[in-house]
Amino acid sequence: MRWIWIDRFIEFNSGKSAKAIKCLSMAEDHYARHFAGYPVMPACFILEGLAQTGGILVGEANAFKEKVVLAKVPRAIFHREMFPGEVLTYETEVLILRPEGASVSAKVTVQGEVTVEAEIFFAHLDQSRSKELFGESNFVFTGEFRHLLERMTRKS
């Protein structure tokens, strides 16, 4: 099972930038406890959504051949809480892309208002070591995931 924290890509410029949206729905289970009577989208899920937007951007740049893993979030500033009913736009831009990994700048906007600014750093799992540990298959970008991605990028 994968936990996908974006609903749809709305822009995708290969190797350069990607924009995705996430619609916050009160039906999502986590609002029951985060927090009872005061539902707020957990910041870690927002970061995960940003990292998925940026990680897919980085993965696609190498035709999904690399195993792209979130290595570090050097900076993340949350300007306000975000609530069910709001639509978050995740915007990511490649700062650097190298064989060893990549770094992206990221932000969240809600109707044009910047609510989060961050920088996310991805590593490509070492080719020789990851083959030893995980074999040939790419567990990050599986066939099922890429099929899902096609649906998420399809124009409605």
Binding site: K72, P74, I96, E100, G101, F121
Partner: protein
């Protein structure tokens, strides 16, 4: 060509961003791991930031060589780097000041070679 002070200043601001440390804690002699708390993944982040900051290319393993001593079992003996290992180190890291390390070349002291000064000297060499 920027002066050593200008390079140090830019290296410091790079390390502030990469390691989330205070600028006043960064000195030329600071070791990246011991004094500034860098972890393995931070080294790649530092390389990326230095490339952007100085507009240079840093080939993989040039500034922070990986597994220097795995190539030859004669490089290390009883937990100490041998003369052959030191020769390899000088060739791989001509920008490193090995004078202190050569007096006590214990493997446990190897990480102390990676200082702010080492980065500054490396960048100086790249820009000259």
């Amino acid at each position: 060509m920027p002066t050593q002070e200008e390079i140090f200043s830019k290296v410091s601001s790079t390390l502030v961003e990469a390691l989330n440390v205070d600028e006043e804690d960064i000195k030329l002699s600071s070791t990246l791991q011991g004094d500034l708390g860098a972890e393995s993944i931070d080294f790649l982040d530092i390389v990326f930031r230095l490339e952007r900051e100085f507009g240079i290319k840093i080939p993989r393993g040039e500034l922070f060589p990986e597994s220097i001593f795995q190539g030859d079992p004669e490089f290390v003996s009883n937990g100490k780097v041998t003369e052959k290992g030191l020769k390899e180190l000088r060739e791989r890291m001509p920008f490193a000041d090995l004078s202190s390390f050569e007096k006590d070349p214990s493997m446990s002291k190897l990480s102390d070679l990676f200082t702010v000064e080492l980065i500054t000297r490396y960048i100086q060499g790249k820009l000259s």
